[in-house]
């Protein structure tokens, strides 16, 4: 075939992609399995010294790595922010799950109404909704903080969940309205003939037909929330409510973290995310694409 790439070129491209996507993961795994002294020494390596799980033990139990109990060591570099990672993963998952559910509960009916009905102000409200993400998030930080402070929601997970829901909602409405528009009108007409009211038409006809797309959109909202940093940073006041994005930023940007500990925290934080992405990505893509060609 004339347009086919040479197998070597394909292999090279594949290797490059693997290097950039898998390389950092493997490097962080390597860095987490050796103490700093080995990591920074040109003469020592994981293969000569063997794996060391002390930093993992520290993250989960708080027991200091043995190398930090040696004479003449500097404990300033053993940051306990790393110990927040497990709780932060739980917080991130809860936030993202709640934001996803709220997005679907609020976004799917809204998208259905925008897709199937004509009402005064429809165009303006739809434009407002889909253009609102164009406002830079940083411009909204102060007003949103003030608003949530007035509602006594600063430092709570509910505050973060509400903001994440609001941030993802325009995308949910936009994507789902496209799906609902692609469903043939005859199906809804048949539902009306069968005496379905508007809610029944939505709940019994539109939702089952758009279920893969709804699932994909929900996962999209989940991922937006899981990785969001700025609002999570200003709204989460303590380690009890802090999500992974904020903890990871603290670890990566504070200078008081040893390389080994930083790598351990990175690896622990990315493993669940990677598993999630591997499990659901195909589903997300298929769901989104099914909407694109339907009709």
């Amino acid at each position: 075939m004339a347009g086919r790439l040479h197998p070597l070129l394909t292999f090279a491209f594949g290797a490059l992609i693997l290097l950039f996507s898998g390389g950092p993961v493997l490097l962080s795994l390597y860095g987490s399995l050796v103490p700093d002294k080995v990591l920074l020494s040109p003469d020592k390596s994981l293969f000569t010294e063997g794996p060391n799980f002390d930093t993992y033990r520290y993250v989960f139990t708080g027991q200091l790595p043995d190398s930090y109990n040696a004479e003449g060591t500097n404990r300033a570099m053993i940051s306990d922010a790393a110990r927040q990672v497990p709780q932060a993963l739980v917080n991130s998952s809860l936030n993202a799950l709640a934001a996803m559910v709220l997005n679907l509960i609020l976004g799917a009916p809204a998208a259905f109404v925008f897709a199937r009905y004509i009402f005064p102000g429809k165009k303006v409200s739809f434009l407002y909704l889909i253009l609102s993400p164009l406002v830079p998030a940083v411009a909204l930080v102060t007003p949103i903080y003030m608003m949530l402070q007035a509602m006594n929601l600063v430092g709570t997970q509910l505050g973060i969940i509400l903001v994440h829901t609001a941030k993802a909602l325009p995308f949910t409405v936009l994507i789902l309205s496209v799906f609902f528009r692609k469903i043939p009108a005859e199906i809804f007409e048949a539902a009306v003939l069968d005496h379905c009211d508007r809610f029944q038409t939505f709940w019994r006809v539109a939702v089952p037909l758009a279920l893969p797309s709804i699932g994909a959109t929900g996962l999209f909202a989940f991922m937006l929330s899981y990785s969001e940093f700025m609002f999570a940073m200003i709204l989460s006041g303590s380690s009890e409510t802090r999500p992974a994005s904020v903890v990871m930023a603290a670890l990566a940007r504070n200078t008081d973290v040893s390389w080994s500990l930083l790598n351990t925290a990175i690896f622990i934080a990315i493993v669940p995310t990677l598993v999630l992405v591997i499990l659901v990505w195909r589903f997300v893509v298929e769901g989104l694409l099914s909407g694109a060609v339907k009709g």
Binding site: E71, N74, M77, M233, S238, S239, S258
Partner: protein, 425 residues
């Protein structure tokens, strides 16, 4: 019977209402950047145990976002009583009325008594408009650090002037060491300017006069000379630029560099036996130059103005700040011994526990001497704006892209403009 019961109940209710108000627990909101939170929480627990009726709730933010988050918090009226303060933020916080002078909350004479023990640079850093706003949580200086073994092996005495540093570096270069000096070179970092000021202080330079007029554009000023020295060292190929102190640590531990100028806490990391292959080879020397002074800085415990205005909260907040930074300096000592953090309370340099702990990575007497002669930086409401303007110019001058004279004149002009703008605000 019913009536009697009703009267009795009413009498009890009236009696209860007439009781004097029982003192309620106060919960202080303490805001920190997220360094060693477990130690912070443990210190807080010890304070709470010693002070029944006062609880402390700790909120932390990441260091790079701390100032912005805190300002948002205070502007948003989020309850905030005691915060970590920084020397560079203090003037702006003070001018904005966010924070209160400590003498407005402390018993008479308490602040004067404590400030006697505080190193000069640290006291300057916690002072704004002539009033003390904070007590040191953590203080440090910028140090000239060298590799003892490399100098001994090459028969080079420890340099005491910048000209001797050049001679030593040239000798090492002639002996095969490509770049004997490694230098934190990132114009985005405030450290980049701080390190330059520290070197200039070593020469005895004053950057500004008492009226905050810039002095550094004068070719006779030590800062001017130091920038010229840096540009010369760069042009001779003696300097290895490095983007961050955290990567200078492994680089120095390769043995490919002999000198650097970094914050003193980096010395602890350089000599960290747990992580560094050349641990033990590094030492500080007095900052080269005529006076050997250097730059010091202090982070502090500060009380918000809103808290100071509420007598009950102010009293609790003062107790807390005094516990964390006051005599007998138990908390400051704990940070020093357990975490290697520097301190502004000079008597701790003579504390045996501190000497034992720090003696593993530094000459404590030399550090104490350095702290006693270190000077604070000049911080104003506009200094961060000016520093962001001046750092790229400094970077250009060092590598020879822009003449030193041009850079110094531009820096002085910008400072003067900002000073005038802020004076008329």
């Amino acid at each position: 019977m019913q009536l009697r019961k009703l009267l009795t109940a009413s009498a009890i209710a009236v009696g209860l209402a007439a009781q004097p108000t029982i003192a309620q627990d106060i919960t202080l909101e303490f805001v920190v950047w997220n360094y060693s939170l477990e130690t912070v929480q443990d210190n807080v627990a010890k304070f709470e145990a010693e002070n029944p009726g006062i609880k402390v709730n700790v909120t932390d933010y990441a260091w790079p976002d701390y100032n912005d988050s805190l300002i948002l918090r205070i502007r948003g009226n989020t309850p905030t009583d005691v915060v970590y303060g920084g020397q560079d933020w203090l003037p702006a916080w003070g001018a904005a009325g966010f924070i209160a002078p400590l003498d407005s909350v402390a018993p008479a004479g308490a602040i004067d008594e404590l400030t006697k023990d505080i190193a000069g640079f640290a006291l300057t850093d916690v002072t704004y408009d002539g009033k003390v706003y904070g007590l040191p949580y953590y203080s440090d200086t910028i140090s000239f650090i060298y590799n003892k073994k490399i100098l001994e092996d090459n028969g080079i005495p420890v340099p005491t002037t910048w000209e001797e540093v050049t001679a030593a570096a040239e000798k090492l270069k002639a002996g095969g060491m490509d770049k004997p000096i490694i230098y934190e070179y990132d114009q985005e970092l405030p450290n980049f300017y701080d390190a330059f000021v520290a070197q200039s202080y070593g020469r005895g330079a004053e950057m500004f006069d008492a009226d905050l007029n810039p002095l550094f554009a004068d070719p006779g000023n030590g800062a001017y000379k130091q920038l010229q020295w840096l540009a010369d060292a760069w042009s001779k190929g003696l300097v290895q630029p490095d983007s961050h102190e955290s990567t200078i640590i492994p680089a120095m531990n390769t043995g490919n560099h002999a000198f650097t100028v970094v914050f003193t806490y980096v010395l602890a990391a350089l000599n960290d036996a747990a992580t560094q292959p050349l641990a033990g080879q590094f030492a500080i020397a007095p900052m080269p130059g005529e006076t050997h002074s250097t730059l010091g800085f202090a982070k502090s415990y500060v009380i918000t103005a809103k808290t100071a205005a509420d007598p009950a909260r102010a009293e609790a907040a003062w107790k807390f700040v005094n516990f964390m930074a006051g005599k007998p300096y138990t908390v400051a000592k704990r940070w020093a011994v357990e975490k290697g953090l520097g301190f502004g309370q000079l008597p701790l340099f003579e504390d045996q526990d501190v000497i034992t702990a720090w003696g593993k990575w530094a000459d404590v007497a030399a550090l104490g001497k350095q702290a006693s002669i270190a000077k604070a930086g000049t911080y104003t409401e506009f200094s961060s704006v000016w520093s962001a303007y001046f750092r790229p110019l400094l970077a250009q001058a060092m590598v020879g892209e822009t003449p030193v004279d041009e850079v110094m004149k531009a820096g002085a002009q910008r400072w003067t403009e900002l000073k005038q703008q802020f004076a008329s605000r």
